[in-house]
């Protein structure tokens, strides 16, 4: 945690401790820590000299932010309109069933977090699933297990 707080300080310095840059600061913290730790939000409020509630309201308003620790692999299933008409919701359901978690939740082994996104702009490839930087296109329910297994295996090796 100490390490995380040190990086929060340097992120705040990078943005000149300006409250107008609050969203950018939180984005940077999240990409560093994988989520927004409570201590980090307190530090941000303190350094920007704004009420903690203001930081909290921004952190909870925008969909990108997570206040809970997230898994090693973040699964993003696209549920944009084009993916939806091609069965995107069924893919979400299949991942939910396979991992036994709901959208926004993390598996117990901290290997996966399931999130949905409304359109990645790859509508020709729908339904699309993104894990890390890898895009999976034309995903079917049957493919879900195979895709997930790749990440389960990499854990063991």
């Amino acid at each position: 945690m100490m390490e995380a707080l040190v990086s929060v300080e340097s992120i705040l310095d990078k943005w000149n401790n300006e409250d107008a840059s609050l969203i950018s600061i939180l984005l940077d913290i999240q990409s560093e820590c994988n989520y927004l730790p409570k201590e980090a939000l307190i530090t941000v409020a303190d350094r920007l000299n704004i009420p903690l509630i203001q930081v909290y309201s921004v952190a909870t308003f925008y969909k990108v932010f997570s206040l809970k620790p997230r898994g090693k692999n973040i699964i993003n299933v696209c549920v944009g309109t084009a993916c939806h008409v091609r069965g995107g919701q069924r893919i979400v359901d299949e991942v939910k069933r396979k991992l036994n978690i709901d959208v926004g939740e993390t598996t117990e082994d901290k290997l996966f977090t399931l999130e949905t996104v409304r359109c990645l702009g790859c509508c020709a490839l729908g339904p699309v699933v993104v894990i890390g930087n890898t895009y999976y296109s034309y995903v079917t329910q049957k493919m879900v297990g195979t895709i997930l297994n790749k990440y389960k295996k990499s854990k063991n090796t």
């Binding site: 609050l22 984005l27 925008y62 969909k63 944009g80 309109t81 702009g121 020709a124 729908g126 049957k142």
Partner: protein
């Protein structure tokens, strides 16, 4: 590197040299690879890597250029490789094709037949992009440039007359003259509302205040629309040049580009472009030796659809949560930090250099009486040719769906086309001959929006579609207005009831009444348009609602509670594939005999339906 120019003439002379050196480029050997986000998602980076290795192996890496471009629009057949100078169009290229492209097409000057596009209607192989039906009815004033340039090279942009419009403006035009030209062109906002751009600029120019801001709205939130991403990824300088011209006309010295978090490549390319502009002295103080100052900051959004709304966007730029506020005062009067602010969409900005270069008359000759120019749409969903299409305003929906889009896949029947995203509506077949312009689409209960065009076929349930958009809007409503916050939730409750088979006939009237109420009493565009998908589907597809309510049937087979899966014994080969994938062990039977589905265990996930190769599993 810093190469600030003392004056416009010096910059123009360098531009002249760059253009001269690029004049013969089209006759030189070059491999053009489309590598926007969808190209990359389909493996364009591996293709580029393989091409580089192949060229090196043949000692051609110094002789043959690889131009890595943004999206060409025809996403369906990505990655695309065009071999110049002969303009040979290869589609769906894989890394293993690279060797052959180099040895056959580059060295032996032969066309590789199997990589050509095949016209599904005639079965004929097509060699050049311009002959492919998908491109033929398009007028690609903006998108065609994506093919010509590497978006990370400012010299490429200058090569295609980039920054010529800026020089022209700074040298010969007064601010008012620029505004007059934009007004005369008839350009209207491409973000959705269609407000005349020149007029908007004039309001901001005339507003009192020493500091004024301009903003490029790239918070493209409509699911199913990605033309802004493509422009920013593929030709960021065109947007930035437009902003410079706008800033000059409005009298602003500071601008923002607000980009969606979900578009990392767009953010990257815009940032590269801004650094190059700084090196060339196209940003900062005393641009090209004039007394015009301008700086641009890139701001990344954090996932909030409502931030596409102007006043919410302003709040977000100020670092607050993106809640809209009452207008007036309009942003042109009081925007960011309560200073006059002008916000335009990416595509609007990208049109500005074209209007200056080619003239307002050229622009206003394209389109209809009230909707001028071209518009980029993302043609997606149940359509053969998915992609970004740029068409003249006034084209019909039918031409878009059938001539450009190539119709519906698998011989399915067309049901509707959804335009305008969550604020738009669904248009049925009987109105396919409607022209695409702001007024005509609005008359049908839809809107032009930012350009999403989602095609739906007989397997799409319209009640589910309405539910989909309301779920989206319920999540994205900022919660400030009661009617939007609670109203959408109640609408959704009723729709859920209908899709679960417990709807009542009175529900239709209730939905209409509540929908109108949400429209009339919400403060911002989100709430005011939220019921559009619902009301338009009730208007055009009432039968489908009634089938759900009265007969407890979802004819498209989408609404889970109303669908049952069955196995047709005659068609079942007893292969057992369905039984293996069923997560609930609801499929019973023995191998080589036919299987049956135990309805009490079936959770209707549909995986058996998806898996069966013999069409033995059916929905009813």
């Amino acid at each position: 590197m810093n190469m600030r120019f003392p004056g416009i003439c010096e910059f123009e002379s360098l531009c002249g040299k760059i253009r001269e050196s690029k004049k013969d480029e089209s006759s030189e050997l070059c491999l053009i690879v489309s590598s926007g986000t969808c190209g990359q998602a389909k493996g364009s980076l591996a293709v580029i890597d393989a091409l580089e290795k192949s060229l090196k192996k043949h000692n051609l890496d110094k002789k043959v250029d690889i131009r890595i471009t943004g999206c060409h629009g025809f996403c369906q057949v990505e990655p695309i490789v065009i071999v110049n100078p002969k303009n040979i169009f290869y589609q769906s290229v894989k890394p293993e094709d690279a060797k052959e492209i180099v040895s056959e097409t580059i060295i032996n000057k032969k066309v590789i037949d199997r990589l050509l596009y095949v016209d599904p209607k005639t079965g004929k192989k097509i060699k050049h992009e311009k002959d492919i039906p998908f491109y033929q009815k398009q007028v690609r004033a903006l998108l065609a440039n994506n093919v010509l340039i590497d978006p990370t090279k400012i010299e490429d942009y200058i090569g295609i007359k980039g920054y010529a419009a800026l020089c022209e403006v700074l040298k010969t035009m007064k601010a008012e003259e620029v505004i007059y030209e934009v007004k005369k062109s008839g350009l209207r906002g491409r973000g959705g509302a269609g407000f005349p751009t020149g007029l908007k600029w004039e309001f901001c120019r005339k507003a009192k205040g020493d500091v004024k801001y301009i903003v490029c709205n790239a918070d493209e939130g409509d699911p199913g629309a990605y033309m802004n991403r493509s422009l920013l990824e593929g030709n960021p300088h065109s947007v930035l040049e437009g902003m410079l011209i706008g800033a000059y006309a409005i009298g602003s010295s500071e601008g923002f580009i607000y980009v969606r978090h979900e578009y990392p490549l767009a953010v990257k390319n815009v940032k590269i472009a801004i650094t190059q502009m700084e090196e060339y002295g196209l940003l900062g103080k005393g641009i090209l030796g004039t007394d015009f100052n301008f700086d641009i900051e890139v701001i990344t959004g954090a996932g909030a659809f409502v931030c596409g709304e102007e006043t919410a966007l302003i709040a977000s730029i100020e670092g607050k949560k993106g809640e809209p506020r009452q207008r007036p005062p309009f942003p042109a009067q009081k925007g960011i930090w309560r200073k006059p602010t002008n916000i335009n969409n990416v595509e609007t900005w990208a049109n500005i250099p074209l209007i200056i270069n080619k003239g307002a008359e050229w622009f206003s000759e394209i389109g209809t009486a009230k909707s001028k120019g071209t518009k980029i749409f993302s043609l997606v969903g149940k359509i053969n040719n998915t992609g970004l299409v740029e068409v003249p305003m006034g084209i019909t929906l039918r031409e878009m769906v059938y001539d450009i889009g190539g119709g519906i896949p698998n011989d399915k029947k067309f049901k509707a086309v959804q335009t305008g995203g969550p604020s738009g509506g669904c248009i049925p077949e009987e109105f396919l001959d409607t022209t695409v312009d702001y007024e005509s689409l609005e008359a049908l209960g839809s809107i032009m929006g930012s350009g999403g065009m989602v095609v739906m076929d007989e397997d799409t349930c319209m009640v589910d579609t309405a539910k989909y958009f309301l779920e989206f809007l319920q999540e994205e409503s900022c919660g400030k207005c009661l009617t939007c916050r609670e109203g959408i939730e109640r609408l959704l409750e009723i729709l859920n009831r209908i899709t679960e088979g417990t709807g009542k006939e009175q529900d239709i009237e209730l939905l209409k009444e509540l929908g109108e109420l949400v429209k009339d009493t919400s403060m911002c565009g989100l709430g005011q348009t939220a019921p559009n998908p619902l009301l338009s589907t009730i208007k055009y597809f009432k039968d489908e609602y009634m089938a759900h309510i009265r007969d407890k049937k979802c004819t498209a087979g989408i609404c889970r509670a109303l669908v049952e899966y069955f196995i047709i014994a005659d068609k079942c080969t007893g292969c057992g594939a369905c039984m293996k994938v069923c997560p609930e062990e609801a499929i019973l039977g023995e191998k080589k005999k036919s299987y049956i589905i135990d309805q009490s265990k079936c959770i209707k996930c549909g995986i058996c339906f998806e898996t069966c190769k013999f069409d033995a599993v059916v929905k009813r």
